[in-house]
Symmetry: C2
Subunit: 384 residues, 2 copies
């Protein structure tokens, strides 16, 4: 297998982009990544999108986007693993370059979620769970994470305030990210007094509904050296699954797919949790970030809430988590999220993250999760 | 890159499977492929599905199916390229094995299409076209192929009867395939007197709405030799795109994505059209098979209709096309179709195709197409 580098990244302002179509959002973003990489051709396009069919009535999006990007006849593939579709696009692009099937791959993600009403969006997001045995019986997607939160509070003494602190931290970071959907600070009080969605989760515990895209350009390290671009290598890629329904798990506070995906990525990169300088994780709900930091081995099992309270995961903490603002403040256009995580890590490792720059960041990790942990994709990045 | 072999194939009876769920259809099929391969573990699962979200309200299907197949925590990816999703699953599995990322990959496809009504199915299938500029303005998916048929008739003198002969030939072959949805013969007269769908295409020119799955097990040729299984190698894999909307093409009778994908596959395998003994192509409509045989270089441009009339593509012809019955008679569960084509070619190359066995078949080709030719995946298979 060939070594793989990220040589270009692109992201545009996320939010409720009613004046733009899915194709427009993606193409603008992809062009930024291509400009950043300094290349004008690609050998392959991989696009992560969770549910373009339900959100905008369009499947076959990779073919559509290759066309609108002016890149036909290149191969174009859409990949999907619910909210981990972006991470999967990155992984498939990585494999394609590593295998030698393609020299330059554009891996992107996109979702246009605000063209449907709230009921339709809730239905579409529920397709990430086991619809037949979970959502069709009445539970919503936030409801599944509420069950996880209640179990974590019961088992480990995690507090309602600690959940809120995850949102506060991520909005602190997001206030430094001009591309974030909600680039402003919030307080623990505002989280605790926000509308209840699924007890104990309130609306400020939840990531928003977002329109947005993100893209990265991948090539072999050998080719990257010739292009004389700043090189960030992908040194580890891990993907894993768990039971899709919460009811099938022994312990719903433990994200086995994240643990397994991380284990593979760490092994491939020859790294341990303590070697990681900065991480972007899947905080679709505040409780998710707490469980993820535990499953990644960054904190001890059951201590995720305490770690946030103690500032361990803050921008200036020992292991900064979600410097970009995370899904909570940056937004969560589901198919784009995993790629945007990579965009942030690459910017950080290149020292281009501006006011939210983490000092001495040399090794970064992204964790992108589908459903209530049914699938996870983890990548490890290193400055060359 | 490592050499890749198919060591197991599986397919169950296709049709209107109202008594079975998507997961059940897929798992039964996947177990057949694993049994055929004689392996009890996989390193990765790739599933092609065009629109499980619109058809059964379930995305995240690869994670779901890994779970129901008892294979968690293996990585599982759903891939989509409209009706070419199955071919794309095969290609992604091929790349994963070739790269060394996985030793044994289960590549499958599945679609459960009969749980929605006709209006909803028409809408879902239209998501393969450019919805915003084609279907949202009133054209249906059969309408797009009807335009292609009219143009081909006008430009090359292809006759209404020649279109019908494609359906008759494929039903002749399908009558020999017990797993086909419609395993019976039809006549030119019955095609010509069937209900008009989109002039000049009639209902017997159209592939049906089908529930079904197909699966293959891939591994490196090196490993296949150790397993002492009959080896069919995948020696060529090509994928390409074209403009998604017909209105953007110079000549709508020419399938550029098929031409480009085939060119790559031929080059990788070191083969020419005349080296191919048997092909399975994407006859979603009768006119499609005619255009595809031309774009693959099996017949001269404009001569696809005449080739059928002269029996060139019949089971006993010079280059048998769709020995399985094709999409027309075998059925077309969109995400499964591309994988089922591989299942047929592997059976033919192993000499296990029973009454529809093509003699001396040593090199086979599959062509799986998305939308009205917006994307195509081509593979070449050889008996080792």
């Amino acid at each position: 297998m060939r070594e793989v580098a990220v040589i270009g990244v692109g992201m545009t302002k996320w939010g409720e982009l009613w004046e733009k179509s899915l194709r427009q959002i993606f193409v603008e973003t992809a062009l930024l990544a291509l400009d950043d990489a300094g290349v004008d051709r690609i050998d392959s396009l991989i696009v992560g999108s969770m549910s373009s069919g339900l959100f905008v009535g369009q499947e076959h999006v990779a073919s559509l986007l290759a066309d609108y990007l002016g890149q036909t006849p290149v191969p174009a593939a859409r990949v999907e693993s619910a909210c981990a579709s972006g991470g999967l696009a990155l992984r498939m692009g990585f494999i394609e370059v590593a295998s030698g099937m393609a020299d330059i791959v554009l891996a992107g993600g996109v979702e246009k979620m605000t063209d449907v009403n709230g009921h339709e969006a809730t239905y579409a997001l529920g397709t990430a769970a086991d619809q037949e045995y979970e959502c069709f019986h009445g539970i919503t997607f936030p409801g599944l994470y509420a069950l996880i939160a209640l179990a974590h509070m019961e088992k480990y003494g995690t507090t309602r305030e600690q959940l809120a602190m995850v949102a506060v931290k991520n909005h602190d970071n997001g206030s430094l990210n001009p591309l974030a959907q909600f680039p402003f600070k919030i307080t623990v009080d505002s989280v605790l007094s926000s509308v209840l969605v699924a007890d104990p989760l309130r609306v400020l515990d939840c990531s928003p509904i977002t329109d947005g895209a993100a893209a990265v350009v991948l090539c072999s390290v050998e080719m990257a050296k010739k292009l004389k671009k700043p090189i960030v290598k992908i040194t580890g890629s891990g993907q894993a699954t768990d039971t899709i329904a919460l009811s099938s798990r022994k312990d719903i506070t433990w994200l086995e797919s994240t643990f397994q995906a991380a284990k593979k990525a760490y092994a491939m990169a020859g790294k341990k949790p303590e070697d990681i300088d900065i991480v972007e994780v899947h905080d679709c709900f505040t409780i998710a970030e707490i469980c993820v930091t535990e499953a990644l081995g960054l904190v001890e099992k059951g201590k995720g809430g305490k770690a946030v309270e103690e500032g361990l995961t803050a921008l200036q903490g020992k292991i900064p988590v979600n410097a970009s603002g995370g899904l909570k403040a940056k937004g969560h256009p589901v198919g784009a999220t995993g790629v945007a995580q990579a965009v942030e890590i690459v910017k950080q490792l290149r020292g281009e993250a501006g006011p939210r720059q983490v000092k001495e960041a040399k090794v970064g990790l992204t964790q992108n999760m589908g459903g209530s942990g049914g699938s996870t994709v983890v990548h490890i990045f290193e400055r060359a």
